[in-house]
């Protein structure tokens, strides 16, 4: 479902891409012939669609899965998989550059090989897509159709000249990069956070528009891979919505890497001049013009709702996506939605979690709720920024008194050994109790560390009990346990201390 916006790049780039296409959208695929009504017709074979189709089929449901592009959706093809693969190479270069800090020598010739980084990414993408090949899916008893799907009415879907009748349907068509409305941008040409993976050469000077997770990850990775990066963000801080201190640490890290940080800055116009792209940046009424070789936008994602015949099926939607209730049902009670097409938080793991809810609710009359999901997320910059549950500001606005137990990563032994002591663990509890409301972790491996807190919240475990969970020493995840220890120390009231001292004194007699 990638959308071409620039001639600077063309998919497929190499043999890995050709192999990926062969598996994820075989050129001579024969669509099956429908044989009666389906229990579930799934539109879109991204993380949500694949999960729902497989779960339903494994329980004996008759399932059809429809895909217009590549199986795997944005995540494996143009999202999390390729971006994190490139980030790994970027971290390698950062480590080589900082080798002295780790007791090593900086290589004499340290030149980032962008082409090799991209080739590695394509290899990984191809390898991970194999598990979800068309042949593999068909072998699991799923009727796989390639083509544009369109609702023909309240209980039918048309695809490639065939009519699929369904009892229930799931729309999981995902989202595509939003196009920022900047005069001249489309004419000058730009890449978005999907088409940028087709780059074969690193742009010398790069403007990244948008300081959300996509923009920050992209800016840092390209900077480490050798580009001179300017990151323009129209808000006063990066990652709006994250905690101020997390955004502050990220801002410092980006500046230290050499990213030219432009906060409170709007890109108001772009034009092409002599092979360069000129961008006008405005801050507090003052405009400056910069010259770059390429522009990448990372300003968010818009739901794929066009051309599906949602009106004919009685499914309501707007610019934010398909409207669903807490059970993920659309305005047509036989049709559900899951993943990016209907969710505010567009993550692979939420797409999969919502797909599971749909299978239970749609096929087995379940009553599972979207609002009961405990959803963590992570921005894969260095350091990573991971969050789960409530932010203190949300808790306070709901009238919940909140207290945060903070552990600095520079107090976590393993982080010091690893030279990764930037960041913190913050666990938010309801004041006067140990009930965990949420947590933010900023650390090199925050995405791994947050899982312990998610597990604790999901299982109703309090911060007091978390302190009893033995962590192997030395690990960075000990930062989580240390927050529990900090909680325990504050519970040691003077009365308890006095009582303990009296008991111990008596025991000595």
């Amino acid at each position: 479902m990638s959308r071409e916006r620039t001639k600077a790049a063309a998919f497929p780039v190499d043999r890995n891409d050709v192999d990926l296409m062969r598996a994820a959208h075989p050129p001579h695929w024969m669509n099956p012939t429908p044989d009666g009504r389906y229990n579930l017709v799934v539109i879109g074979a991204g993380p949500a669609g694949l999960t729902a189709a497989r779960d339903a089929a494994s329980l004996g449901a008759k399932v059809a899965l429809v895909e217009r592009g590549l199986i795997g959706g944005a995540c494996v093809n143009v999202g999390g998989v390729p971006s994190k693969s490139i980030i790994r190479t970027a971290r390698l270069y950062a480590d080589m550059r900082d080798a002295e800090n780790f007791g090593g020598d900086v290589p004499e010739r340290l030149h980032a090989d962008f082409e090799r980084a991209m080739m590695r990414m394509r290899q990984i993408r191809q390898r991970l897509s194999r598990a979800d090949s068309a042949v593999a899916i068909a072998s699991e008893g799923i009727d796989l159709y390639f083509g544009e799907a369109r609702f023909g009415g309240a209980d039918t879907v048309e695809v490639a000249g065939r009519t699929l009748h369904f009892r229930k349907a799931l729309v999981a068509t995902g989202a595509h990069p939003s196009a920022p409305a900047i005069p001249g941008l489309a004419e000058a040409g730009y890449l978005d956070n999907e088409s940028m993976f087709d780059l074969t050469q690193c742009p010398e000077r790069l403007l990244v528009i948008g300081g959300g997770p996509l923009g920050c990850e992209t800016a840092q990775a390209f900077c480490l891979l050798g580009a001179k990066v300017i990151l323009a963000q129209n808000e006063p801080m990066f990652l709006p919505g994250e905690e101020r201190d997390a955004a502050q640490i990220l801002s410092d890290a980006l500046a230290r890497e050499g990213v030219e940080v432009r906060l409170n800055t709007e890109v108001v116009a772009v034009r092409r001049e002599g092979g360069k792209k000129l961008a006008d940046l405005t801050r507090e009424g003052d405009t400056t013009t910069i010259s770059v070789d390429e522009i990448i936008t990372g300003v968010g994602r818009s739901p794929n709702v066009g051309g599906l015949g949602l009106e004919e099926a009685g499914v309501a939607y707007d610019a934010d996506g398909i409207k669903v209730d807490d059970h993920l049902r659309t305005t047509n009670t036989h049709i559900y939605a899951a993943g990016d097409v209907c969710l505010e938080y567009k993550f692979t793991h939420t797409a999969e979690a919502t797909a599971r809810i749909v299978v239970r609710n749609a096929l087995f009359r379940g009553h599972e709720r979207l609002s009961e999901l405990v959803v963590p997320w992570c921005t894969y910059t260095d350091p990573e920024i991971a969050h789960v549950g409530l932010y203190p500001i949300e808790a306070r606005r709901d009238g919940i008194p909140v207290k945060t137990y903070t552990v600095l990563m520079h107090d976590v032994a393993r982080a010091v050994m690893d030279g990764e002591e930037e960041g913190f663990v913050k666990i938010h509890v309801r004041e006067g109790s140990d009930r965990i409301l949420g947590a933010t972790v900023v650390a090199s491996h925050a995405g791994e560390m947050i899982n312990a807190v998610t597990l604790a919240i999901r299982s109703g475990m309090g911060l007091h009990a978390l302190a009893d969970v033995i962590h192997p020493f030395p690990t960075q995840a000990q930062g989580i346990k240390m927050a529990g220890d900090a909680y325990r120390r504050t519970r040691l009231t003077s009365l308890r201390r006095r009582l303990a001292a009296r008991w111990l004194a008596w025991s000595r007699r």
Partner: protein, 451 residues
């Protein structure tokens, strides 16, 4: 000229007196007596900063009480400033001094007009007004000039359109520019703006809406860091500026009632937190430790990246530095010690003495620089003293004079306790208890024993 005399021979009181008087001297040296404007820094061609004028107006009464200037001289400088602001052009166009009763952050020392295409600043106007109210409270004499000070002070405060400064949100905007309108900065988390909210809510004519303070405090984060329970604010000045005028000991708003603490106690803990951070010294900066700490807003060595002891750092120019989440480039703001003196006198005095013993070269006749960075000693273009901020900044000198005075005599706190606007603003923000339960004292009238 570096300070040469050893401090060991001086008592704490004598030492503080020297630092306080040296800081006070800044205002007499940099004021334009014609319009009362005071330079932002002691560097050549520095414009005036309205906040520094607010500090100057607050410091003149201290100078009078300490015998460092005559009451007549203080009246003249105060009147010059109040008359200037009162007569200065206001409006949304060019060649003005302010808008809607607020003022541009930086003004030309001579003409008093906006410079550097700077913003109309809400918090700096609040700091100016706090000084204006100090003047109005202190100069309570019967003479014509002192009466004029009181009238002008009241008029300047009352003409501010605080409601306008909220824009379309409950919290106050940080700034405004003629071309782009309100600046796109939000207020998130605790900071130095309590005085701004108190003054804005107290306005008899155009107060902010009732939900403004609550909307701001909703963004507060109460954290346990290094074993301290604190309302977090990274740079130390956030825990000092509003406290220069208002004694927050024992008075509590809804947030502090919930946390069973107060903002004075919070500043004390935050001061200790900064010391603890320096003991941790996670980035291995030179000198950090028990008696060298204090990250704040201030001057810095400049914007560049450099490796020190095989670690990559990014150094900054003028910036707000904070602990423990940064940014931290090894630049210490030594004026933090006198500025936190009322909260944590023991560790602040120890740090001040350590500074005099170990880094006498950064102190200019007991006057403290905005910042210095010992990590940069003998690196890049820097000499053996590392980087030391050139000259002095008015904000730093002002907070030093005021907080030493509050520590010694409580003069400013006492003046402001009797101010009806301050009391009303605190009340509307939900503060109760402590000295607020006592009736406002009689207006202070000059000769006081402040020794």
């Amino acid at each position: 000229m570096p300070k040469t005399e050893p401090d060991d021979a001086l008592s704490d009181e004598e030492l503080l007196d020297r630092y306080q008087r040296a800081a006070f001297g800044y205002f007499l040296e940099t004021v334009n007596p014609d319009n009362g404007l005071v330079a932002d820094t002691s560097r050549p061609n520095s414009p005036a900063s309205i906040a520094v004028v607010g500090f100057a107006l607050s410091c003149y009464p201290i100078g009078v009480e300490r015998g460092w200037m005559t009451r007549e001289a203080a009246v003249e400088l105060t009147l010059a400033a109040l008359r200037f602001f009162s007569a200065s052009p206001q409006g949304g166009g060019d060649d003005v001094t302010g808008h809607k009763g607020f003022y541009y952050h930086f003004l030309d020392m001579r003409t008093g007009l906006r410079v550097w295409r700077c913003e109309v600043s809400m918090v700096d106007t609040a700091l100016l007004m706090a000084g204006v109210l100090v003047a109005g409270a202190y100069f309570s004499g019967a003479g014509e000039k002192e009466a004029e000070i009181r009238d002008l002070a009241e008029a300047l405060y009352r003409r501010i359109d605080w409601r306008w400064a909220q824009g379309s949100s409950p919290t106050l905007r940080q700034g405004w520019k003629p071309k782009s309108g309100f600046l796109h900065y939000g207020w998130e988390g605790y900071n130095e703006a309590t005085i701004l909210y108190v003054l804005s809510m107290a306005s008899p004519d155009s107060p902010t809406s009732d939900d403004s303070y609550e909307a701001w405090t909703a963004t507060y984060q109460w954290e346990n860091i290094y074993g301290h329970d604190v309302l977090y604010g990274g740079p130390l000045f956030m825990h000092q500026f509003s406290h220069a005028w208002i004694d927050f000991a024992g008075i509590r708003d809804a947030f502090m009632r919930e946390k069973n603490s107060d903002y004075f106690e919070n500043s004390r803990r935050s001061t200790y937190l900064h010391r603890d951070y320096a003991r941790h010294n996670p980035y291995g900066f030179d000198g950090y430790g028990e008696n060298l700490w204090g990250l704040s807003a201030g001057d810095g060595p400049g914007g560049f990246r450099a490796s020190v002891e095989r670690r990559r750092h990014r150094f900054s120019g003028y910036a707000a530095r904070g602990a423990p989440f940064g940014p931290d480039d090894g630049t210490i703001a030594p004026w933090s010690y006198p500025a936190s003196l009322p909260f944590a006198p023991d560790i602040c005095l120890a740090a001040l003495r350590h500074l005099g013993d170990r880094y006498p070269q950064v102190i200019d006749n007991y006057r403290l620089p905005s910042g210095f960075n010992p990590t940069l000693a003998n690196r890049r273009k820097f000499g053996r003293d590392g980087w030391v901020s050139e000259g002095q900044y008015g904000l730093d000198q002002g907070i030093v004079v005021m907080m030493i005075e509050n520590h010694r005599s409580g003069l400013i706190w006492e003046l402001m306790r009797s101010n009806q606007h301050i009391r009303r603003g605190l009340g509307r923000a939900g503060f109760t208890g402590g000295w607020l339960t006592q009736p406002a004292g009689p207006v202070v009238s000059g000769d006081r024993d402040v020794a």
